[in-house]
């Protein structure tokens, strides 16, 4: 057995364990409530991206309506929590996400037969249309959707069970993490079943699969059910976290951003989905708090990923790590470091330019100063602009050749496989 195969097998066995430890680790750390809120969001985003990545990698279906499942499950969870609190049923709220998942599964059972008749664009467009339809309809309807205002709930109103009253964000993260691990286990089990093999056959050649007496529609529907279950878990967990659900959670924006992050990160696996969820929460929560131009950065970032890492970030990172490990050249690390420094320079310069432009166009400067990377800048002065442009051009000018050199070094050090 070659060394790499050995290494891969060792990684394969240690991967899940590392994942469990990583998920459980924050619970043991003395983190703030805000950190746990962020982590809980990360967990539900992870589930949502996993549900999209599952469909895409296993049966090559692009779902533009995943928010349909997560959003409806969110509504169902809010209603379930309100009903439990109102009637005093002895059901703990930690079971509500499970109900949300099953609710989404039922929704998928209803709409699925229409969606899965054909793969490819037909599926993508049907889910898009269904998603937009429900998102537009929701604010107009009372009852289940609660009209414009949505439905609000209270996660602490349920009966306490095993000491879990869901008062603290730590407990909410614990519940979210537990459901995340449940989903990860389910995914791992699913990949060992016959269904995963059938799905691969349907993905690669539906006509041939049909000729072998495998019904492509049935296989796609089964995968869609699993995916909807994951998305439902995500939506219900989100309701548990923010105690409010409105039509915004059903929208096309929600679905398409999740799909984009999922594809950009390559989220067919647990690790890929974690990377995508990290990027998504990072940009939608952290970056959005820092800059009003965050969507512009997200769009530009996607363009960069599409151009330089079209197979997805996680695949590129995995290749990079493997090559670095196999090559064992100190030069490679230097090359990577130089590339990262150049990229950082370019990012700082370009983002400064964008922020300056924003400040000038939208009159955001207030007292005439703009705070950027710890410096107080005056957008009215020319040298600020020249400096930012200089940084950007230096970063780009040095970054492109160093990226080329690094790619050459990597290729030279590649092991024959």
């Amino acid at each position: 057995m070659s060394r790499t195969a050995h290494l891969q097998r060792a990684q394969h066995a240690s991967g899940p364990l590392t994942f469990v430890v990583l998920v459980a680790l924050p619970l043991a750390l003395p983190l703030h409530s805000a950190d746990f809120a962020l982590l809980a969001q990360l967990a539900s985003a992870w589930l949502l991206l996993l549900s999209i990545g599952l469909l895409h990698t296993r049966v090559r279906l692009l779902s533009f309506g995943q928010a349909l499942f997560s959003g409806l499950a969110g509504y169902a969870a809010a209603h379930a929590m309100n009903a439990i609190a109102a009637h005093g049923w002895p059901l703990p709220f930690i079971l509500v996400p499970l109900y949300g998942g099953l609710f989404a599964l039922t929704v998928a059972l209803l709409v699925g037969p229409v969606c899965v008749r054909h793969g490819g664009l037909s599926f993508a467009m049907t889910t898009l249309a269904l998603g937009v339809l429900v998102a537009l309809l929701a604010p107009m309807l009372q009852g289940f959707f609660g009209g414009e205002g949505g439905v609000s709930t209270d996660r602490t109103a349920g009966p306490t069970w095993l000491g879990l009253n869901l008062l603290s964000q730590r407990q909410v993260y614990g519940v979210s993490a537990a459901y995340g691990l449940l989903a990860a286990g389910l995914l791992r089990w699913l990949d060992g079943t016959r269904l995963a093999l059938l799905a691969r056959a349907v993905r690669d050649n539906p006509l041939r699969a049909a000729a072998c007496a495998i019904a492509p529609r049935a296989v796609r529907l089964q995968l869609l059910l699993v995916s909807a279950f994951f998305a439902g878990l995500a939506g219900a967990l989100q309701t548990l976290q923010i105690e409010q659900v409105s039509a915004g959670s059903l929208g096309l924006q929600q679905s398409s951003m999740a799909l984009l992050f999922s594809l950009a990160a390559g989220s067919g696996s647990a690790w890929g989905a974690l990377l995508g969820a990290g990027l998504m929460v990072g940009s939608e929560v952290i970056l959005a708090a820092v800059s009003r131009a965050w969507m512009l950065y997200v769009g530009l970032g996607f363009l960069c990923i599409v151009i330089w890492a079209p197979q997805g970030l996680s695949a590129v990172l995995r290749d990079l790590l493997r090559n670095l490990r196999a090559a064992r050249q100190p030069d490679l690390l230097w090359g990577l470091g130089a590339l990262l420094v150049c990229a950082a320079l370019a990012v700082v310069g370009l983002s400064s330019l964008i922020e300056l432009l924003y400040a000038v166009r939208q009159q955001l400067q207030g007292d005439g100063a703009l705070r950027l990377y710890g410096f107080n800048l005056n957008p009215a002065r020319a040298e600020v602009w020249v400096g930012a442009a200089l940084l950007a051009t230096t970063g780009l000018g040095l970054g492109v050749p160093s990226a080329r050199m690094f790619a050459q070094q990597l290729r030279a050090g590649e092991l024959p496989q």
């Binding site: 467009m125 937009v132 594809l263 969507m295 964008i354 166009r361």
Partner: protein, 324 residues
């Protein structure tokens, strides 16, 4: 009767606007194999550029500059991004168009703000063109129709009566063969994306005053355009025309109707049980939803209905390789 006729005419002008966009989208899909998610953003950019240049050069100047500017942006995008990722398959291309659409919308937000801009109908085109039984047909709607027909006529001439049009048509179905005959297929693809962008820019320039010019128009129109071309059948120009007419007329007629599902059922002799509350609850609020309010929903209802019965749209037959 006159009111119905007028609604139909209004719907026709809206349909032509939709077809200006949908025809470009469909041609791009046929030739490049990628659904252009940035098409709504091209439309938005056209409206903004027309408004901005209109302040310097007048309305007509804006109308001329907008298609050219959007075509230039589309060309840059095709050469700079799409061509580089084409070897990787259609998914990166789709992602690229989506990301570029986001970038365009955010750039517009950066430059012109999130609120709508006051892009209005020029004074010459205000007022009514003719009266129909006491109701006015707005002159600007007639202008939109004229511009739409002129642009589509020009596109038709270009596509069916010129050499480059023949090459484009051949490349739609037999790209490798056309390439083997010595034509530059990548250049043809760039040209088609630029032309589709120009049509979208023109649609934005004439549609901006009619509807509303704001960054949100991109997402709204983008989703609607997909509905249009899916209803007709992806990749078919005839289907795009059919879909645009259907969606445009349906939406315009629905806005003019005063009534809800419950009213319709009542006319058929069915009335809601007395025990049902009037507005709360999901079923009663659905039944009492005014059709004029529900007009934006109808295209998507239509898409789901069409896809449920004819998964490849109304006009397109299934290819052998996509039967399952």
């Amino acid at each position: 009767m006159d009111a119905l006729l007028l609604s139909l005419l209004n719907g026709l002008s809206y349909s032509l606007l939709l077809f200006l966009l949908a025809s470009g989208l469909t041609l791009i899909f046929s030739l490049l194999g990628v659904l252009n998610f940035a098409h709504g953003s091209f439309y938005m950019l056209g409206a903004y550029v027309a408004w901005q240049t209109g302040q310097w050069l007048g309305f007509c100047g804006g109308l001329l500059v907008a298609p050219l500017a959007v075509a230039a942006v589309a060309t840059l995008f095709e050469v700079g991004v799409l061509r580089r990722v084409r070897a990787q398959g259609h998914l990166p291309e789709l992602l690229a168009t989506f990301a570029f659409g986001v970038v365009l919308v955010e750039a517009a937000r950066l430059l012109w703000g999130s609120a709508s801009v006051p892009y209005g109908i020029p004074p010459v085109l205000q007022g009514s063109l003719f009266r129909l039984g006491g109701l006015e047909f707005a002159a600007y709607r007639g202008f939109v129709m004229a511009v739409g027909l002129a642009a589509l006529g020009a596109a038709w001439l270009l596509l069916w009566r010129t050499r480059i049009g023949l090459v484009v048509q051949a490349a739609l179905t037999h790209a490798p063969m056309v390439s083997a005959l010595g034509h530059n297929v990548p250049a043809v693809q760039t040209l088609v994306l630029a032309a589709g962008g120009a049509l979208a820019g023109l649609a934005g320039a004439v549609g901006g005053p009619l509807l509303i010019t704001e960054p949100g128009m991109a997402a709204q129109m983008g989703a609607l355009l997909f509905a249009v071309i899916i209803i007709g059948g992806l990749g078919s120009l005839r289907g795009a025309l059919f879909g645009a007419l259907l969606v445009g007329e349906l939406q315009t007629l629905a806005v003019a109707v005063n009534g809800s599902l419950a009213d319709g059922l009542q006319r058929l002799g069915w009335s809601a049980p007395a025990g049902w509350p009037a507005a709360s609850g999901i079923v009663p609020s659905l039944l009492h939803l005014d059709l004029s309010r529900a007009a934006p929903l109808l295209p998507y209802v239509l898409v789901v209905a069409v896809l449920a019965f004819k998964p490849h749209g109304l006009t397109r037959a299934l290819g052998r390789d996509e039967a399952l």
